[in-house]
């Protein structure tokens, strides 16, 4: 399933982005070794790294855009497409694998009809896999936004997603 989701930042979000860049200019000096922390700072706010951000960092640090892009794309943490409202990260570590995390991943993919890296049509969820969260004693693990859920099985994982979806509908009302 190919989904081209790359978006230019919309005109509406420009003020927030400009505000963010102002904060970045205050928080960082623009040294080369601040590159990764800057990328992390931007992604924490925007959820991903738009092309504009990479250009701005290149301007701030004096590094070439190719260098900035080359470093950003090296690391699995950085995303270049927007994400859904809730990020579901399924752990694919050894202990989780041995305890069936790939089956849980399949179940979630089937339920939400997306594969890792995509957003669901309603914009609520993005699935990602992570190599290991380090909570192996409670395998299999899933992290939704900042909350860690352990000792999962298929039905609990789906129940969690349904609860979140129901919660979002409540917010909309």
């Amino acid at each position: 399933m190919e989904q081209a989701i790359y978006q230019e930042l919309s005109v509406e979000s420009m003020p927030e982005v400009e505000y963010l860049f102002n904060e970045i200019r205050k928080e960082f000096k623009g040294r080369a070794d601040e590159l990764i922390p800057m990328l992390q700072r931007i992604q924490r706010t925007l959820g991903f790294l738009p092309e504009q951000a990479l250009l701005e960092i290149a301007r701030l640090t004096g590094l070439s855009t190719a260098r900035v892009y080359g470093t950003a794309t090296f690391y699995a943490q950085f995303r270049f497409q927007p994400v859904g409202k809730n990020i579901i990260r399924v752990c694919r570590g050894t202990a989780c694998h041995v305890k069936g995390s790939n089956r849980i991943l399949e179940t979630i993919e089937e339920h939400l009809q997306v594969t890792p890296g995509q957003i669901t049509p309603d914009g609520l969820f993005t699935i990602e896999t992570v190599a290991c969260f380090g909570s192996c004693a409670l395998a299999p693990i899933m992290v939704v936004n900042d909350s860690v859920y352990g000792s999962l099985n298929r039905s609990r994982a789906l129940k969690l997603l349904d609860e979140i979806r129901a919660g979002e509908k409540e917010l909309l009302r």
Partner: protein, 616 residues
């Protein structure tokens, strides 16, 4: 601030805590605890105390190691023992507090163990629990016992006395002490720490760096996370001691971004160190000054490798460099740099406090001290353990771990993460030390220990590891970049039933090339899972290739599920669980599975309580 006075005050406060005239409750609030629901238990405890109109203290502590029991709460009535309860829900926690604190009944049937004044009717001692008895906690000495966000707890229990002692020695003596202890790097390579420090100390140069490697990239490993969350100061003190020994004034902690709680605990700890004169200039009244910066990783396994780690700190792609030059001579920005693992540093602070001889009293001739392990996978009792080197694998798996759950047969144990190997059950007599594990084809590694049973496929496991290493390969050198890909492709084909017997020779050949030709440890050790499984589980490979069968029931094209008509009682649970309508049958009559509809998701197999579904 005078440290002696601080220590006296801290000890006084700790004693006051021990003699508290109010109930004291401790709840494990590491990431594991929270993942299991500790936040709800904490809220329930707070609420219950309020409703009982009882003044009590609730402490957040780190991981005591019995992770399979999380969330864990320990309750102490004034003057009494700490009674531990596990697998709690908010409701159960409330019931316990009401029952014990209000009615005086500790509910032994719900309790796990106790510490302190005993005996307690019907409740075993913590130290006597089969999971705990063989353990010796050195690096983990404070985890689960102190509040990791309170530096004075650390100080009261002997914290920073190692640093005090080191600052009164000269740096060469500190290096010697570390050498005498026999401490070897706990990140996996096992290089003698004292010797490593000596190289950096002797390297020419004014500016030197010390780095704490908290990347812990091995899937299956969480020892460093637990130590940083549960007792960050033990690592920071070790870092200061190392810095003093080497002669440097600036250090970095490179910690993976997937550990937000550990990062938070470190930031709090650094702030406290500054307040107490343990960071910055003239530490503890000496002429030694030190600054620490935290750098977060960004999701690259290869950045656990020393040269890649330094490239990442410098703001670039984490691509390893060939050695020589070694970091000790030419590291961060070309300066002499010493990199130590989290657990190594957690041991250093204990060694300088209690002496090299004390530490060398544990372990074996060549592997001194203790090692933490993240015991996970198919054992009953998963958790964080610390054992003396030389203990036998079988003792860890059967006595500490309680053996395999659900009556299944144990098959192997995987140590060393993607760089390690699978050791079969008939070799569980092996002592756990650097040399023995290497001789068996695996490595000690950072401490990941994943137990596997009859339902783990030993061809799928190397396939899993290779998909990881092939993905994480930085791409710089051809043997690793192409070789891991090639091994993965072959393993994928074998698991899909498209393998040929010649593939095993090719696999062996490519393994050797990748091992010998790769630039860094990632490539050099990536073939290990393949090599050990070929060595010990060749029959499973042959079954996949020649018999087109996966007996563990993992590789979907190579097995199917069948319901045994003699055992099935027609309860219908499997049919309800099936999401593709592949299970049919009348109530109370044996059911059957339609092979062309079955997606082999395993839901029916997991749900059947009568063992009626077979892997064929």
């Amino acid at each position: 601030m005078d440290f002696i006075l601080i220590k006296e005050r801290a000890e006084k406060n700790w004693k006051a805590l021990e003699n508290l005239r109010q109930p004291l409750i401790q709840i494990g609030m590491g990431t594991c605890g929270k993942a299991a629901g500790a936040d709800e238990v904490y809220a329930a405890a707070k609420q219950t105390l309020k409703e009982m109109n009882l003044l009590g203290r609730i402490l957040q502590v780190g991981c005591i190691g019995t992770c399979y029991l999380e969330p864990i709460m320990a309750v102490r009535k004034p003057g009494g023992p700490f009674i531990y309860y596990g697998n709690l829900t908010a409701k159960r926690a409330e019931d316990i507090l009401l029952s014990y604190l209000r009615d005086g009944d500790p509910r032994p049937e719900w309790a796990v163990c106790f510490t302190g004044e005993g005996p307690v009717d019907g409740i075993p001692r913590f130290e006597d629990l089969p999971m705990i008895k063989p353990q010796v906690r050195i690096a983990l000495r404070n985890c689960g016992i102190i509040d990791p966000e309170n530096i004075e707890h650390y100080i009261a229990r002997g914290g920073y006395s190692g640093l005090m002692r080191a600052l009164q020695m000269n740096p060469e003596e500190v290096v010697q002490e570390t050498k005498d202890s026999g401490l070897r790097g706990r990140g996996g390579a096992g290089f003698p720490t004292g010797m490593k420090w000596e190289f950096a100390r002797k390297a020419p140069g004014q500016t030197k760096y010390i780095i704490c490697n908290a990347d812990e990239g091995d899937p299956g490993a969480f020892m460093d996370r637990s130590l940083l969350e549960g007792d960050p100061h033990s690592v920071l003190e070790g870092m200061l001691i190392g810095a003093y020994a080497i002669g440097c004034n600036e250090g970095y902690i490179y910690i993976r971004a997937e550990y937000p709680l550990a990062i938070k605990r470190l930031e709090t700890a650094l702030k406290q160190m500054r307040e107490y004169g343990l960071l910055g200039r003239d530490i503890l009244g000496s002429r030694f000054g030190f600054e620490i910066h935290i750098k977060e990783g960004a999701g690259a396994f290869v950045c656990g490798e020393e040269t890649a780690l330094m490239a990442s700190i410098a703001g670039g792609r984490g691509m390893p460099q060939s050695r020589p030059p070694f970091p000790a001579n030419k590291g961060l920005w070309g300066n002499p740099t010493n990199i130590n693992n989290v657990e190594t540093l957690g041991n250093v602070s204990a060694i300088l406090a209690q002496g090299a001889k004390w530490f060398a009293g544990f372990g074996t001739e060549k592997s001194k001290g203790t090692k933490t392990f993240a015991l996970a996978g198919k054992v009953e009792r998963t958790g964080l353990i610390e054992v003396p080197m030389g203990i036998r694998l079988k003792e860890i798996i059967h006595e500490i771990g309680g053996g395999v759950a659900k009556g299944k047969k144990v098959k192997a144990v995987q140590t060393g993460g993607p760089s390690g190997g699978c050791i079969p059950a008939d070799l569980f007599d092996l002592p756990v030390d650097y040399e023995s594990l290497t001789a068996a084809g695996s490595i000690m590694g950072s401490g990941g220990m994943v137990v596997m049973d009859e339902e783990t496929c030993m061809v799928d496991i190397p396939r899993y590891f290779l998909s990881f290493t092939a993905d994480e390969s930085c791409g710089k050198c051809i043997p690793c970049r192409l070789g891991t890909r090639q091994m993965l492709d072959i393993l994928n084909e074998i698991c899909e039933g498209k393998g040929a017997i010649e593939d095993l020779e090719i696999l062996k050949d490519v393994s050797e090339t990748v091992q010998k030709g790769s630039l860094c440890g990632l490539g050099q050790t990536a073939p290990n899972p393949v090599q050990t499984t070929l060595r010990y589980f060749r029959s499973e490979y042959e079954a996949h290739i020649l018999g087109k069968k996966c007996e563990a029931g993992v590789c979907k094209p190579l097995f199917h599920y069948e319901i045994d008509p003699e055992t099935c009682n027609g309860c219908g649970v499997c049919s309800k669980k099936c999401s593709v309508g592949a299970v049919t049958g009348e109530k109370k009559k044996p059911h059957s599975i339609k092979p062309d509809r079955c997606s082999k998701c395993g839901a029916c197999y997991e749900a059947c309580k009568f063992d009626a579904i077979r892997i064929c």
